[in-house]
């Protein structure tokens, strides 16, 4: 019985220790165990990406699911290029899935929102950001209108240039940068409001 327990523990640890290369190869070979490990290892973070774009958890779950399906079927297109490349590839895939969804969803096409931009030019302090829980920051972002949110995500999180954003979304660069500006303004307000409310 003891040995059985040790074996289980060992097995679970051993599986966790699968390297990125091994994971890649075995997923390519459609190894079920590797695929499960791959999912369990990256699902949490990938959900974060989808949630950032989708704005709500249900949609984010669907996007996550679709993203993994697509990932498993296109492993042959991935070439391992060093540590972190697997995650980067998967992240890009998830972003693309999310953007596809946003582009297709008519309701999301409101790039130009009439949301009022606050006049307050006050920007949060760098050190203040660390005072705010991650979940809250995420919530602030998902509360942004979809147009601002998308551009914010692509520019700040994915670090794409306005030119690239414009290409992807079918808008022009100027629109992209103004969207980003407005997004930042809104976020700054939310952060500052929070900090004020909590006397931070």
């Amino acid at each position: 019985m003891q040995y059985f327990v040790y074996l289980c523990i060992y097995k679970s640890i051993a599986v966790k220790l699968m390297s990125e290369t091994e994971l890649t190869e075995r997923c390519l070979a459609e190894d079920n165990e590797a695929r499960k490990e791959f999912y369990e290892r990256y699902a949490g973070q990938m959900f974060g990406i989808c949630f950032r774009y989708a704005g709500d958890r249900d949609t984010a779950q669907d996007l996550l699911h679709d993203g993994f399906i697509k990932a498993f079927s296109s492993f042959d297109k991935f070439t391992y290029r060093g540590e972190g490349s697997l995650r980067a590839w998967l992240s890009r895939l998830m972003v693309n899935i999310s953007l596809d969804y946003i582009r297709k969803n008519e309701a999301n096409r409101q790039m130009l929102t009439l949301e009022q931009i606050p006049d307050n030019m006050e920007e949060p302090q760098e050190e203040d950001i660390s005072l705010i829980p991650h979940q809250l920051l995420m919530r602030f972002i998902t509360e942004l209108p979809v147009g601002y949110r998308t551009v914010f995500n692509m520019s700040v999180m994915e670090q794409l240039s306005h030119k690239e954003i414009a290409e992807q979304l079918g808008i022009n660069e100027r629109t992209s940068s103004s969207q980003l500006f407005r997004a930042k303004k809104l976020l700054a307000k939310k952060i500052n409001d929070y900090l004020r409310e909590h006397n931070l």
Binding site: E25, R26, L28, A29, E30, D31, N32, E33, R35, K36, Y39, E40, A43, G44, Q45, F47, G48, F51, R52, Q61, L64, H65, F68, I69, K70, F72, S73, D76, T79, Y80, E123, P124, Q125, E126, E127, D128, I129, S130, I132, H134, L137, M138, I141, V156, M157, S177, S178, F181, K184, L187, A188, I191
Partner: protein
């Protein structure tokens, strides 16, 4: 608005959120797994076509392989059926004099005197060796000097010129000629009538024989009668199971000299043995199609390439036989280690199709030669030991059924080339170094 530098707070925001993670929903993997188990959703329509193609290819492959094995494996029967002796010739008994055996066939006796010929000219010895067919065997039995036996391949090769052996599967050799007033030419004609592929019929060698023995009359008469009676004479046909045909010169090992058995002329005592031996000299090996079984380990590289190695067991079986006289069975067991590279051009959940190429090194781990002599009613089994390693190169097309992601069963028909292994043992690999082969096995991929 234009910010060359990123706001520090924005940077902090990114750092805070870039590893943001929420635990996946319970059942998320199960839901995913359900969708993954059958063929991937996206190329659904396309994959059906691929599956059908894969299935068709697999069926075609297997049927071709089976057909190859069946046709090549069955040729021993063809071989046997081609061998027959004239009805008048009884089966020689142990120690029965050839005279008794042959007399009814010949009908006319010759005095012993005529049999005393000058045997001093040893160049005729050579003609004793590469003989075939009863006619030559008898002749040599009569005149064979006491010279030692030569089982040297080289010499026998030279003597292939005198050989009447068919080197083409279908031809039968007519050993007797129809015209009674046989002279040298006639005999030559008769024997060289069916030109074998080798075209090395040396009428010159024959000439030697004639000249040295001088008395063609006896010979003439000796053969005349049979020829009158049996227009067709003895037919000996040779067939092997090998697609590449017979290589007559490879028979060195089987050559035994009829001359071993005789001492004085006119001594018919051991002619039966001589006859049998002479008959045995003309046995060609019928090699059965080898089949290999392997356990293979394959390491997949990026893309569709893989390297593999493993262990392969092969069994080589050959039969050489003359109905009623002698039967030889040779079985060899080889164990080898292959080294191959494969390109997987179709790799799905259940089926993988690939081509591979590589080499193998094998060692014969055991072998047996069983000789059954029906005339003497003996059976002898000896071990065959082949010391040198067998190297080969091969290319194959493979179909693999994937039981799980790592484990599969495969069928690989292909072509193989065997390098000379420097041994004397006759196998299908020596006879036809470039050949088809079929390998089955189990494979672990990782």
């Amino acid at each position: 608005m234009k910010q060359e530098e990123e706001d520090k707070w924005i940077k902090a925001l990114r750092n805070s959120l870039e590893d943001y993670s929420e635990p996946p929903l319970a059942g998320g993997w199960e839901k995913l797994q359900k969708e993954l188990s059958p063929a991937p959703v996206a190329p659904k329509k396309r994959s059906y076509l691929l599956y059908y193609t894969a299935a068709a290819a697999a069926i075609l492959l297997i049927s071709i392989s089976t057909a190859i094995i069946m046709t090549l494996g069955d040729s021993s029967e063809k071989f046997m059926s081609n061998v027959h002796f004239p009805e008048e010739m009884k089966q020689p008994n142990d120690k029965q004099s050839l005279k008794d055996v042959v007399a009814p066939v010949i009908k006319e006796e010759k005095t012993e005197n005529n049999l005393a010929y000058d045997k001093s000219d040893q160049s005729t010895v050579r003609s004793n060796k590469a003989v075939s067919g009863r006619k030559s065997a008898i002749k040599n039995s009569l005149y064979a000097p006491a010279s030692g036996s030569v089982s040297d391949k080289k010499e026998s090769k030279a003597e292939n010129e005198v050989k009447v052996t068919v080197t083409d599967r279908k031809d039968n050799v007519q050993l007797q000629e129809n015209k009674p007033d046989t002279k040298t030419d006639k005999r030559n004609e008769g024997t060289s009538k069916k030109e074998p592929l080798k075209k090395s019929y040396g009428s010159s060698s024959r000439q030697k024989v004639q000249n040295n023995y001088g008395s063609e009359d006896l010979l003439a008469e000796f053969y005349e009668k049979p020829s009158r009676r049996h227009k067709k004479g003895v037919s000996l046909g040779f067939a092997t199971g090998n697609s590449s045909g017979i290589d007559a010169s490879g028979n060195g090992k089987d050559f035994m000299l009829a001359s071993d058995c005789l001492s004085a002329p006119g001594n018919y005592m051991y002619y039966s043995n001589a006859l049998v031996n002479a008959v045995m000299t003309n046995l060609n090996w019928n090699h059965k199609q080898p089949v290999s079984f392997g356990l293979s380990v394959r390491k997949q590289l990026s893309g569709s390439f893989a390297l593999e190695s493993g262990v392969v067991y092969t069994r080589l079986e050959s039969v050489a036989s003359m109905e009623g006289y002698v039967n030889k069975e040779q079985t060899l067991h080889y164990v080898g280690i292959p080294f191959k590279a494969s390109y997987l051009f179709l790799d799905r959940r259940y089926v993988t199709l690939y081509v591979s190429g590589g080499g193998m090194v094998e060692k014969s781990v055991s072998g047996k030669l069983k000789v059954t002599d029906h005339t003497l009613n003996t059976e002898k089994t000896e071990d065959i030991n082949i010391k040198p390693l067998q190297w080969s190169l091969n290319g194959a097309f493979g179909v693999q059924y994937n039981v799980t992601g790592q484990f599969g069963i495969f069928v690989e028909p292909g072509v193989v080339y065997y390098f000379k292994d420097g041994s004397d043992v006759e196998t299908i690999r020596k006879k036809s170094p470039f050949n088809l082969n079929l390998q089955l096995g189990l494979r672990v991929s990782y």
